[in-house]
């Protein structure tokens, strides 16, 4: 304490200097119109910047909630769009009115585990049977097709990723369904292959591969990938087709589980 007092006493002139500088600042920015305007402008800039910083930080902290809100909005939009509904005519003769029957529900989910470098890749989502998720339901991302639910417990579900050698999807290219299979050959986490497309078919590099109508798991028109390579071998009548998936599986965070509300009614009819 004694040392502290001695130190203060020794540097009292500096404290006086600081106090007098404050007095000078008041005089400078209070009585000089030019400096006052300049100070007011600078203060406004500082305030605006600090407000922006505060807003950015608050916004960043709220991103998780905003993501959930956006996911729900996307799910609602999807349910009300033509992809999520089947349209039928009340009166085929008069064609007076049309109505839409709600067919698919989307359940937003977050990916809690994901693998891309194995032969049989899966990811786990934070939605389970409590949320209505069951085996063999389709899973899509905001970019395109992602996988199929393998199994579920109350809170979580395992999804077979599109990057799984057991995954087979029937492709639809330019509105045409091809009864061959889209497979992943474990070569790269973003490329898949289609074999068995006849060379006579009119497809080109850049064409979009989508889901078709031959599956109850996904609505028609969900993007799967874009054709990047079309190889024509001399001794074969088929293209060797390669595509890049629209979904980036290395960065998969949010997905939607597609629930076909009438699958239990349609599936027995197909099996018969």
């Amino acid at each position: 304490m004694h040392r502290l007092l001695a130190f203060i006493e020794q540097n009292l002139y500096f404290i006086l200097f600081a106090v007098l500088q404050v007095v000078c600042s008041f005089l400078l920015f209070g009585l000089n119109p030019y400096q006052q305007a300049s100070f007011t402008h600078s203060a406004a800039v500082v305030t605006a910047n600090s407000n922006k910083l505060s807003s950015d930080v608050t916004g960043y902290l709220d991103l998780k909630n905003q993501n959930i809100i956006l996911q729900n909005q996307v799910a609602n939009q999807f349910q009300n769009s033509s992809l999520g509904t089947i349209m039928y005519l009340h009166d085929t003769l008069k064609v007076k009115d049309s109505s839409r029957q709600h067919l698919y529900d989307l359940v937003p989910a977050q990916v809690v585990y994901n693998s891309v470098y194995k032969a049989e890749n899966v990811f786990v989502i934070n939605k389970g049977t409590i949320d209505g998720i069951k085996k063999n339901m389709g899973v899509v991302s905001s970019e395109g097709l992602a996988g199929i639910v393998l199994k579920s417990n109350a809170k979580y579900s395992t999804v077979m990723s599109l990057l799984n050698t057991n995954m087979k999807v029937i492709p639809n290219i330019n509105g045409m369904e091809y009864f061959t299979e889209l497979v992943w050959d474990n070569s790269s986490p973003q490329t898949m292959k289609i074999k068995g497309i006849n060379k006579l078919e009119k497809i080109e590099v850049g064409d979009m591969v989508q889901t078709g109508q031959s599956s109850l798991l996904f609505p028609r028109g969900i993007p799967i990938g874009t054709i990047t390579k079309l190889e024509q071998k001399e001794n074969s009548q088929y293209f060797d087709t390669e595509l890049v998936t629209t979904t980036n599986f290395r960065n998969l965070t949010y997905v939607y589980v597609v629930i076909n509300r009438d699958a239990h009614l349609i599936a027995p009819l197909i099996e018969e």
Binding site: F14, L16, V23, C24, L28, N32
Partner: protein
């Protein structure tokens, strides 16, 4: 008495003549800071700060720039205290001598004065144009005014070389 007359002379020179020089827009030499540079070495640091503040306010009154010279003088005196603490002036301090070429030696006095003069001009011209700094005008005014102030100070110091410390 000589010191009082010296102070009156320098303040008069600054207020009456140098503040109204119309030779060039870049030429605004602040010679009065020589009074602070040459303050007697034995004066308590608290008083040095108060004298600097008072002299700065006095100059602000004449130039209608409240706070600018006062703030610059306060900085100048703090820097001066720092610079002089590195010099061996104990003997002259005991003799109540002023800081001059005669007491501190020509080289230490010169570099201390040059640093303080350059700092002072740099600071006040920056404060005057704060917020809308014209770099070329600022640097030209600072260099021209500092050099002219140093020249005038040199002449004054030369003329008072033998008389002031008596």
């Amino acid at each position: 008495m000589r010191i009082v007359l010296f102070w009156l002379f320098i303040i008069g020179l600054q207020v009456v003549l140098l503040n109204h020089l119309d030779l060039s827009a870049y030429l605004i030499p602040q010679v009065f800071i020589l009074l602070l540079i040459k303050l007697p070495l034995n004066i308590n640091k608290m008083y040095q700060v108060l004298i600097a503040f008072g002299l700065g306010l006095l100059m602000d009154m004449f130039t209608s720039t409240p706070g600018i010279h006062a703030s610059a003088c306060l900085w100048l005196i703090i820097i001066r205290i720092g610079l002089l603490s590195g010099q061996d002036l104990k003997e002259h301090e005991a003799n109540k001598a002023t800081f001059s070429a005669n007491t501190a030696g020509l080289a230490p006095f010169m570099y201390t004065t040059i640093i303080l003069v350059f700092f002072y001009h740099l600071y006040i011209f920056w404060l005057e144009s704060i917020g809308a700094l014209n770099w070329s005008l600022w640097l030209t005014t600072f260099i021209v005014s500092s050099i002219s102030a140093l020249t005038v100070m040199g002449i004054i110091e030369y003329l008072s070389f033998t008389n002031y410390d008596e």
